[in-house]
Structure formats: C-alpha cells, structure tokens
C-alpha cells in the first residue's frame, strides 16, 4: 500500500484510452464502475476534444455483482458494436473489474463478432498509464498485422531504390494526452519531407485499423515516443524486419543525429543538415551576447523519461546550463535516465512522489526548474522560475498556437519557453536592486511579485530544511547577512557551494569568512 497525494500517471487503462481515442474506427469497451467515466474529461477538457472518447463503460454496480456480470458485459459489447460500428474493438477492464475476473476479452472473442477483437490485460495494481498505452498499441498492432494474411519478413531498407520511389517511414508513438504530439508530428513530417522522405503511416494519432495494416509498407519506423512505441517498434523489427530510429529529435543536436540515423537506416547518402542553422534560431540566440548570462545556470530537470533526457542534453550542450538534478517518474525509462545522470555526475531521482521531487529541488538550489505542471507549482512555492517540459497534461500544455518540442521549430519553442522565465528573473533582480527606492517602499509589487525575488526576508530566516538535510550545518546571522548581499540569481548557487565547502572542511557554523573561503576555493578549481 502506498500513500499517494497526487500521481504523475493514471492507471494503465487510461493509457489504453489514449490509444483508442487517438485513432479512428476503434472502440474500447471498458468493464468498469460508473466513477471511472471521469476519464472522459481528460480528453474533452484537458485536450479540449470536441468528441467523446470512443469508450463504453459497463458501469456495473454492487447489486450486479451477485448476478451475472458476464451477461451484462456481453450486452454492452453488443450494443457498442451495433451503435458505433468500429473496425476494431478493444476490450478490457479497470482496477475493480480486474478483481471480479469476468474476463471481458474472452467473452467478447466468444461472441462471434465480425471484426477484430483485441483483449487487453493491463494489471491495474502494478502498472501505470504509459505502460498501458504502450501495451495497448503493441497488442493492437500485433493483432491487426497477425490477422492480415500478408506477412513479409523479406524486408529490405533500400527496397525504395529498387522500386524507384522515395523512401517512406512510419511515425510511431504520438497520442492524445502526450506532450505536444499534435505539433511534433507536423514538424517531423515537414523536416522529413525536406529530405525527400515520405510518411507512410502516423500511428496511433489519427490512424485507422486499415492504416495499421499498412504499417508494413514502410521502409523504416520512426520511434518518436519510446514510452508509447518502443515495444511496438521492437516487435516490428523482430517480426517483419523493419528497422527503427532510436534518437528522439528534441533539440538541435538530437534532430541532427536523428536525421543522420534515419539516412543511415534508409541508406540515403546525402547527409547535410546545415539547415539547422537557417531553420532554427536557437543556435544563434544561444550564441548571442545577451545569452551570456545563461552560462552555468543551475537547472533541475524532472519529467517523463524521453523529455527529461532530451532536456538535459539541450540544457548542457545547447544553452550552456549546469544540470544539478535529473529525474523521472517513468520507471520504464529509469535505466536510461540513471545512465544520463551518471554522465552529469549526478544520481537520478526515480520517484512517483512529487514531495520527494520538491525536496530534491530544494536541496539542489537550482535557478531554473524544468518539470511537469506539479514542479511548476513546487517551483512557485520555492520562488524559482520554471518551464513545463513533460506530461501529465494540463490544459495549458495544449496551446492554440503551433508549438512543437521536436525539430527546428521545437528548438525555437524550447528556447523561448525556458529562457523567458529567466528573463523575468533578471528583471526581478533589477527590481530587487531598486527595492529600497521610495516607489517600492509600501509593498508596491510588479506583476512578477508572485515570484520569490522580492521576498528578501525569506532567505534571511533560518532555513530549517537545509539545516535538516545538511546535518548540523548552520549559518550565523552574520553569514546570512553577507549571503543576502549577493545578487539573488547566484545566491542559491553560492549558498550550496558554501555549504558543500563547509562540509568538506568540517565546519559547522558558516559565517562570512567561510563564505569568502568557499568562493576562493571554487574559483581556484575552475
């Protein structure tokens, strides 16, 4: 039993709903009690969809449990098929139905329905949403392709040359309630088209069961979101010999690497990606003189595996930040994130508890947090700027304008989204400098007043949290006073470094001397 106040991921059947709702002509019968219908609002309110998710809930009640719930399930399946006339049917159960073991999938298969029926088993007490999405997509693709007779294992990636056509690929993984998938797909399509590569099928987003059957016509697969599509890509590689690209094209370097990888897989020769410098402003903006102040900014990163990994690379290599913390709630991606953290000399935080994440943010004293909506709230409480880089989705993460994360335009969006909160930070610094001027004396606040910079006295109070975590270390009032003279945007870093230094030399009381010693010590190490 795990005490949970808030969770990054829903149960696995929500993942299945994401696949069903992303597609056309698919219906999902979910054996579940009435309260589980709340899930519709994730799609109709957060994603602002104008259609109901294609889901029929059996909404069984306590009084049904004594009787024949199997008949009830069959009744709902029949009605759903008659009413919605899907081309493929997903049948599964949520947490409660899993306990009563009606086996709705087998029931459906035994009904002699004239359409493909995919039975989903998604263990609700051990797995979560992304796993459920991945498993559902995999089961659906496998089942539809296995049913379709033509199985070709004689796949060759340069077939397009022999056939005298342009190479074509599938984009796999984009789904509803996935971070900026809608726009990523457009961006990647655009980029591939510019390189003479056609799109065969995009799935699950917008695909029908008939499209899924066409998947095998592609020369290669693009695994855009490993959380959702990796297991499917692996199966397609094993079963049909279709290779897939593993680089997720978020950031300039990653997009270049992605293009290189796709060219290699497809055996295309021309490998010039200098368009990155004309099609994206990130490289120049990052190089321009006013970006100097971005150098060495301490950044803490938390999100799903894919976006956290991408963010870390961009932060370090493309914006010149210092990554001071990285973590993910995606257990499936824990290995990769741990490896990346090691490269930064860090230990990855793998957790589903937002309070642990908040604690980690506090302890690493970052100047920018890149996280989920929950980290945005935590960062706000801590007075640190934040940009959202990952699901779980919030209505704000589905902007009206085109704003991908992937490709050249994605890099532009990322530059703006990450740097603007810091700009505000700098403005705040100026306000902070002038705060003793009469305009500011009577609590006059800028529109940025909700950020932490103005709350000077907060940092001069004894910080119990820190003393807790750094055992017995404490700042003398005189040390605190000296610290408060340091501009706020480097103060976190100086505090952290000084405490580290104090610990190393075994000093318990930090005064101004310790602070200056520490400064000299770290400067000499540069």
């Amino acid at each position: 039993m795990e005490l949970t106040l808030w969770t990054y991921e829903g149960p696995p059947h929500i993942g299945a709903m994401r696949i069903a709702s992303s597609m056309k002509g698919v219906h999902y019968v979910l054996h579940a009690p009435q309260g589980d219908t709340y899930a519709d609002l994730l799609f109709t309110m957060i994603e602002r969809r104008g259609e109901r998710p294609p889901v029929t809930y059996t909404t069984f009640q306590a009084r049904d449990l004594g009787g024949d719930t199997a008949e009830l399930v069959k009744g709902h399946i029949k009605e759903a098929v008659d009413r919605f006339k899907p081309q493929a049917l997903l049948v599964g159960e949520s947490c409660t139905a899993e306990l009563i073991q009606d086996q709705p999938g087998s029931l459906a298969k035994g009904m002699g329905l004239n359409l493909p029926v995919i039975s989903l088993e998604l263990p609700a007490y051990s797995k979560k949403e992304n796993w459920g999405a991945s498993e559902t997509f995999y089961q659906l693709v496998r089942s539809l392709l296995t049913d379709s007779e033509k199985k070709s294992t004689d796949h060759s990636t340069n077939k397009w040359k022999k056939e005298g056509r342009r190479p074509r690929v599938n984009l796999l993984g984009p789904s509803l309630l996935g971070f900026r998938c809608r726009d990523d797909v457009l961006e990647i399509q655009k980029i591939l088209a510019a390189h003479g590569i056609d799109i065969n099928v995009i799935a699950p987003l917008g695909a029908s069961p008939a499209d899924i059957i066409r998947i095998e016509k592609a020369d290669a697969n693009i695994c855009l979101y490993p959380e959702v599509a990796e297991s499917t890509c692996l199966w397609l590689e094993r079963k049909l010999g279709i290779p897939f690209s593993k680089t997720v094209p978020i950031g300039i370097t990653a997009t270049q690497e992605f293009l290189k990888e796709v060219h290699e897989i497809l055996e295309i020769d021309s490998g010039n990606y200098s368009e990155s410098f004309t099609n994206s402003r990130l490289p120049w903006y990052s190089k321009s003189v006013d970006s100097n102040y971005l150098t060495g900014k301490r950044v803490f990163i938390f999100g799903d595996g894919t976006h956290a990994l991408a963010a870390a690379k961009i932060a370090k290599n493309e914006l010149g930040f210092e990554v001071v913390g990285i973590g993910t709630y995606s257990r499936e991606m824990a290995r990769k994130v741990r490896a990346a953290a090691k490269d930064f000399g860090l230990e990855a935080l793998i957790t589903n508890s937002y309070l642990e994440v908040e604690e980690a943010i506090k302890n690493s004293a970052p100047e920018l947090v890149l996280g989920t909506q929950m980290e945005r709230h935590s960062a706000k409480r801590l007075g640190i700027p934040c940009a959202v880089i990952s699901t779980p989705m919030h209505v704000q993460d589905v902007p009206a304008r085109y704003s991908p994360q992937m490709g050249w335009e994605g890099a532009n969006v990322i530059f703006d989204d990450w740097v603007h909160p810091l700009m505000m930070g700098l403005e705040e610094h100026l306000i902070g400098m002038f705060r003793h001027d009469f305009e500011f004396t009577d609590g006059h606040q800028s529109h940025l007043g909700h950020l932490g910079g103005l709350k000077e006295n907060k940092s001069s109070q004894p910080r119990e949290e820190l003393t807790d975590s750094s055992k017995e270390l404490c700042w003398t009032p005189e040390g605190e006073a000296e610290l408060s003279k340091i501009p706020f945007f480097v103060r976190g870093k100086v505090r952290k470094n000084t405490e580290k230094y104090a610990e190393e030399i075994g000093c318990k009381q930090i005064d101004s001397e310790t602070l200056f010693d520490a400064k000299a010590y770290f400067n000499s190490k540069k």
Binding site: W6, S126, S378
Partner: protein, 418 residues
C-alpha cells in the same frame, strides 16, 4: 399529486462516484483528512475532478492498493494501519480521519470499520477515525457527502434542547446569511452539520428540527431521525420560491408568526426579483435538458421553469428518493419528464432530437455537446458555487444565462474542433 412523469432507465452511465464529494468536504472541514483506500484510478479521479493540486500538502490522499495487498487481507489491514500512522505522524494537525472505501476495497472486503476501531483504541481520542464508502459500485457523486455525514452522526452528543439544525455543506458566506435571517425570525439556537471544524459537532435529540439544504442526504437524515430529530419536509432552498418555502417551514416549526416571516422576507424577495428580471429575459422560453449527476437536477428544474420560464425537456437524476423529493416533484409542471438512472447513449440521442438551448451535464460531456453547437453548463459547478437562499437566486439564474449570453456574443457558426 406529483406534477412529474417518472421514468426509469438503465444502461451505461456517465456520472462521478461518491469519492468526488471529498473535493468540497475537505474544504468545509479543514481539520479533517480524507484517506481513500483504493486504486490508482481513485487517486486519479479525485485529482482530475479537483484540477491540478496547488497545495503543498492536500487534505486528501489515497492509500493505493498494490498487488501484494490483494494477496492477504490480514496484511492489507496491517498495511493500512501503517499508512495511517505515517500520515498522522507527518500531519499532526489532523483531528478527524475519514477512511473512505472504494470499489476495490469493497470488492476485496477490506474491513474499514475494524481498522477504524482499532486505530481509535490506539489513538485514544487524539484523532478520531471514522469510515464510509464513496465507491462507484454503491454511490454517485453527491452521495459521498451523505456517506461522510452519516458516519459522523454516531459521534454527536445527545441534547433535547430545541434547536434548528441545518444539514448539508453550504458555502460559509451563504450559511452565515441564512443563519442571520433565521435570527430575524427569532430562531436563535441554530447549528450546522457538517460543522466548519470536524471536532465541533452539533448535538442532537428530541428537540432538534432538521432543515436539509441539499437533496442528496437520504441516509444522513434517516440516521438523524433515529436519533430523535424531526426532519422538516419541504422544498430545497434554491431560487426565491424554494428558499421561501424552506424558510417558512422552519418558521412554522418554531411558531414564528407569519407577520414576522413576511416582514423579513418580503424586502428580500422584492430585491431578488428585481435582480432576477434581466436573467429571466434571457432564459424565458429556452429549452432545458438536465442530464443526471448531482441530485440537484429536480430543484434546479423547478427553479428554472417556475421562476425563470424555461421549458423543461427532460430532468435526469441518478436516483430518486420519492419521499424526500415529494414537495419538489409536486412543484414541477404537469407532465415533466423525470428520468431516474441513465443510458447515456440513448439520452444523448434524445438531447440531439430535442435540440435544447441548454444542457446541464458532467464535465466529460460538455465540450462534445458544445462542438455540436449545444450550449452546456457543468453540473459540478452547482456544488461549488454559493447558490442557496433568496439572496443568491439571481446568481443562480446567471449561471444558466451566461452560456446563452456567450453564444449570442460569439455569433459564429459551429466551431471547428480538433
């Protein structure tokens, strides 16, 4: 004789379960914590219904059952014990802990009553632990509040003093206002249930006269009756008419002279009617379809028809307690179609066929209907907004007029959706 035609329907439903009530109950009693014993689905439901949490430490949470909890019940009880103690260690400000049952905990038969009793023995009054079920296999949406209040009744002391007990969660400001008006009647001994502090429970007994603010408190009122209270049968305090009847019923029970009642209420009514007028203008003759969710549908329909002139196409309700709803049903126009239960697909067919001007529905259905060009109002707003009493009648009407008004402003064709 009832004015309504009562029908029943079964099929797939689209309603919240009782856990959802926690979203407003935890705000009413800030010293209480609601611990759902359930699955990740339950946790996800509450956080989705409540929106992204902005609290560092919310006053509700879920003890999520895991594979190994399903294997052995004895261990599950111990586990829950452990989780509760961890929680109470971290949150010493908690005075009352509600253990809230869910579908999974009911199906695997976790005995929350036993766990609560054991914890109460160990905690010796420092924290009171009680339990109720908000499971979707037994409860709908607002019924969760009924369950929570019912669980509190046994903790109430007995008194035989004459008092008026207002039962059902109200917005604090509205509650203050209503109490003030009763004060003008000369009714002084007034208490509210649930209280604003979980430890501040009112007493109950033979002298207690109960006035229900919400129509979904079936079990709670039964329980209160068993403790000797008299449940005053009346309409619910929505709109001028309903609120007036509601207050008059109390006045009668406390032998307040009619002249005092009139003198107090007439000015309020006159003012409310003036405030209502512009909204009546917008609502009059408009067709209304209420999908079942909050249990407030019948009193709302009565208000929107009788006072605002809307035409009622269909009034859905998740379940119907005829005895409790009798007065309300009588006030509905003859032949009003009241449908208990739901077949969401068939009901939506009827919505489309009748092309209503406004549909009251759950959050999952609103945007799809809007995309079809049908204006909607979320029923969950009714349980969050201060809508009770004569003074609030215009605000209540405005909630329904706003979507119509908006549609007029945005005089565009059916929007393209993604």
């Amino acid at each position: 004789m009832s004015g309504a035609t009562l029908l029943k329907e079964t099929g797939p439903r689209e309603v919240f379960c009782g856990l959802t009530s926690i979203v407003w109950l935890h705000r009413r009693m800030p010293d209480a914590f609601f611990l759902v014993v359930g699955s990740r689905t339950c946790a996800h439901l509450i956080q989705s219904a409540a929106g992204v949490m902005i609290f560092a430490e919310p006053r509700f949470g879920t003890a999520i059952l895991e594979e190994r909890d399903l294997a052995g019940l004895a261990d599950a009880h111990d586990e829950l014990n452990r989780v509760v103690k961890d929680l109470l260690d971290r949150r010493p400000e908690i005075r009352t802990l509600f253990l809230v049952g869910s579908c999974p905990s009911e199906v695997i038969k976790i005995d929350l009553l036993r766990v609560a009793e054991k914890l109460n023995n160990e905690l010796r009054g420092k924290v009171t632990v009680i339990n109720y079920s908000g499971s979707g296999i037994e409860t709908t949406f607002t019924q969760g509040e009924d369950g929570a209040l019912k669980a509190l009744v046994p903790l109430m002391q007995t008194t035989n003093k004459e008092q008026l007990l207002i039962v059902g969660t109200l917005a604090n400001a509205v509650e203050d206002r209503l109490i003030k008006i009763f004060g003008k009647f000369g009714i002084e001994n007034i208490h509210s249930f649930p209280p604003r502090n979980s430890t501040n429970l009112p007493s109950i007994g033979l002298g207690t006269k109960v006035l229900l603010t919400q129509p979904y408190l079936t079990e709670t009122s039964r329980e209160l009756k068993d403790r000797g209270a008299e449940i005053l049968q009346t309409s619910f305090p929505l709109g001028v008419e309903g609120s007036r009847k509601w207050m008059e019923t109390a006045a009668k029970a406390f032998h307040v002279p009619q002249s005092t009642v009139d003198a107090t209420l007439e000015p309020l009514i006159a003012r409310a009617q003036k405030a209502l007028a512009p909204f009546i203008e917008q609502l009059k003759g408009k067709k209304l379809f209420l999908l079942p969710e909050s249990q407030l549908e019948i009193p709302l329909a009565r208000f929107l028809h009788n006072e605002c002139g809307m035409d009622l196409i269909e009034v859905g309700t998740p379940y119907l307690n005829r005895e409790m709803m009798k007065q309300e049903l009588d006030l509905l126009p003859i032949g009003t179609q009241v449908v208990e239960g739901q077949h969401v697909e068939k009901q939506l067919d009827r919505v489309r066929e009748s092309s209503p001007d406004l549909v009251v529905c759950g959050m999952g259905l609103a945007n799809p209907l809007e995309a079809e060009g049908i204006s909607t109002k979320w029923s969950i707003e009714m349980v969050f907004s201060p809508i009770h009493g004569i003074d609030q009648a215009a605000d209540l009407a405005e909630l329904f007029a706003r979507p119509l008004h908006r549609k007029n402003i945005l005089s565009q064709k059916k929007p393209q959706t993604t």
